[in-house]
């Protein structure tokens, strides 16, 4: 009777009975049907997850350990590596280029994260209303986000070209003297922040728009009936309601800005005078340009640990806020 046992294939019950029950009847078949089915199910489950497990763990967990080992070695990616203990980390602590890369990354992050979230929130406020063409505005604000950093980089190197670029041409019309932009060590990092704000603010806008639509209108209405003005509604209703989204955006933008690489590679290659060398660029340069992979791995580990600390601090900071409400 192959059709009979089928109806009781609810997985939870099957697993409980399979382990607990001892069949009282004489073992006519070598394996009880329930057990056999369970075994087949386990085999099937492993077959389903194995591609994902092999690739994700093989290329996710293994490299983390490998990277740690590498960071204690001298490795040029070709010849066998040599164990040097903490030498790489000691050298990093002394390396002015690494210090500069850390400084640049921190400055970039401190500018980009708050500004993108602030602009994103303000724009979402402006775009969260029923006026004509609002769909078009939303599209225009968001489109830069889907462009690759390469495309952005190529486009802005063209626009900001000191001699032939449209930006200086516009400034010329306005009577402002031509700027160096990406070729000026004092401006390059700020210009990069500007480019990422152009492309990244749309993401914050979209996330905030989704969040604003979830703010219960009844709350806003109640506050208005109680005589609250625009500012107080914002302060006491909207902002608290979207706090979780803001926390998410802080974390997300932080992670993306600490990992910025493509745009730097395309526009400035870390220059001029190292003014835009960010940490990931430094890691890439060490490993794949200077072929000091161990040194690169060590600097990547420093960044990863810094990220971990930042995430943990943010978590701790978020908790009391939640408890208050």
């Amino acid at each position: 009777m192959p059709g009979l046992p089928r109806p009781i294939t609810v997985p939870s019950r099957g697993s409980a009975s399979g382990r607990g029950l001892r069949h009282p009847e004489p073992p006519k078949t070598p394996v009880a049907p329930v057990q056999r089915r369970r075994r087949r199910e386990t085999a099937a489950a492993w077959a389903y997850v194995s591609p994902a497990v092999l690739i994700i763990l093989g290329l996710g967990v293994v490299p983390v350990a490998w990277s740690l080992l590498l960071s204690f070695q001298v490795d040029d990616l070709v010849t066998p590596s040599r164990w040097t203990g903490l030498d790489n980390y000691a050298a990093l602590a002394q390396d002015p280029h690494f210090a500069q890369a850390v400084g640049n990354t921190v400055l970039y992050t401190l500018l980009y994260v708050p500004l993108s979230i602030l602009f994103g929130f303000l724009l979402a406020q402006a775009l969260n209303r029923r006026i004509r063409l609002v769909g078009l505005y939303r599209t225009l604000v968001f489109v830069p986000f889907v462009l690759s950093a390469t495309a952005q980089g190529v486009l802005f190197s063209f626009i900001l070209d000191p001699q032939f670029g449209a930006a200086n041409s516009l400034l010329h019309h306005l009577g402002v003297s031509p700027q160096g932009f990406l070729t000026d060590p004092a401006q390059a990092l700020l210009v990069l922040v500007g480019i990422t704000l152009w492309s990244g603010t749309g993401f914050c806008v979209v996330v905030y728009l989704a969040a604003l639509q979830d703010v219960p209108p009844s709350l806003v209405e109640a506050a208005r009936l109680d005589g609250a003005g625009t500012w107080r509604v914002l302060r006491h209703v909207t902002l608290p309601a979207i706090t979780p989204v803001t926390a998410f955006l802080v974390l997300w933008q932080l992670i993306t800005s600490l990992q910025v690489f493509d745009l730097v590679y395309v526009t400035t290659k870390g220059g001029p005078l190292g003014s835009t060398t960010v940490i990931v660029y430094f890691v890439w340069e060490q490993a794949f340009k200077n072929f000091t992979a161990g040194y690169g791995a060590a600097s990547a580990y420093v960044l990863a640990l810094a990220l971990l600390v930042v995430v943990l601090v943010l978590r701790v900071l978020r908790r009391p806020g939640k408890a208050l409400r």
Binding site: P51, I55, S67, L147
Partner: protein
């Protein structure tokens, strides 16, 4: 009945227009939003305009801000370049395979984690989710070494294998499958349907929002990626479009019209996909944003 109160209000509404008369015929928000939208649109507009300018117009100072006529020399130059078409094909292959395999393996894995019981599944899922938090630069050097050991460096395989399936795809699809009512699937099991058939004929057709989210985000990240191709590929016949574009800029920096034409072609698939499925795109970004 309702007309009477309305009539009573007439004096009031008549008084108001006197106050509102100097107001604009449109919402004042447009005064803020039009310049802002221009700021976001201008660089893109300039990309399109400069791609159809002649080099003479681009190279004079100050450069022309509007093309005198549509000049397709840049596009012709790019499309005559056999390597450029190769890069386009490479990008297309890598993105298509990556999207397809993420949907397939993500669905299989996600379904097993959502509906099937096997020893260690929770720990395994936890570990896979944890790998989402590993920063890419930590894994990029060893991943390069793994690809080298596998003999894949300098082939499209090196570009595809590391992103065949992402923890994001598995996790997102699992969460979605959990939200589906079990009863539908149980009915099919009782009728003697196999697990795999249940997945493909019942679960996946119901999961289109989640599948499109995975497809959109996988396509965006693969098509737009520069870092990994830069590391994994050295020979220009295996370049992707993004990587090719960076070399293009250096080699042909006098031919800006061609560079911009190449840039337009690079962003075109993403732009078309976005404009064609804007709702799907935005929903993908927000769901991944709010839950990932």
């Amino acid at each position: 009945m309702t007309t009477r109160p309305a009539r009573l209000e007439v004096p009031a509404t008549r008084a108001l227009p006197a106050l509102r008369r100097p107001r604009l015929p449109f919402s004042p928000w447009h005064l803020l939003l039009v310049p802002l939208a221009l700021v976001f649109a201008a660089p893109l507009g300039w990309l399109l305009l400069s791609s159809v300018m002649s080099n003479a117009e681009i190279n004079r100072f100050p450069p022309a801000l509007w093309p005198s006529h549509v000049d397709l020399a840049g596009f012709r130059y790019v499309l005559d370049n056999a390597l450029f078409l190769r890069w386009f094909t490479n990008s297309l292959i890598v993105s298509a395979v990556t999207v397809g395999s993420n949907l397939l393996f993500g669905a299989l894995g996600g379904y097993a984690f959502a509906r099937m019981r096997f020893a260690g599944s929770r720990a395994l899922l936890g570990l896979m989710v944890a790998t989402m938090a590993i920063p890419f630069q930590l894994t990029m050097i060893p991943t390069f070494l793994v690809m080298k050991k596998l003999g894949l460096i300098d082939s499209l395989g090196a570009l595809i294998v590391p992103s065949l399936v992402t923890p994001f795809a598995v996790f997102l699809l699992r969460q979605f499958f959990l939200s589906l009512p079990r009863e539908l699937e149980e009915a099919a099991w009782i009728d003697g349907c196999s697990r795999l058939r249940v997945l493909f004929t019942i679960v996946l057709p119901l999961s289109r929002p989640a599948l499109s989210t995975v497809a959109v985000l996988t396509f965006l990240s693969t098509w737009n990626d520069l870092t990994w191709p830069l590391i994994a590929v050295n020979h220009d016949t295996t370049y992707t479009l993004q990587l090719g574009l960076t070399t293009f800029q250096g080699q042909h920096h006098t031919n800006w019209a061609a560079v911009m034409a190449g840039n337009v072609i690079t962003v075109l698939p993403v732009l078309l996909a976005f404009l064609g499925a804007q709702k799907t795109f935005v929903r993908s970004i927000t769901t991944s944003g709010l839950k990932g």
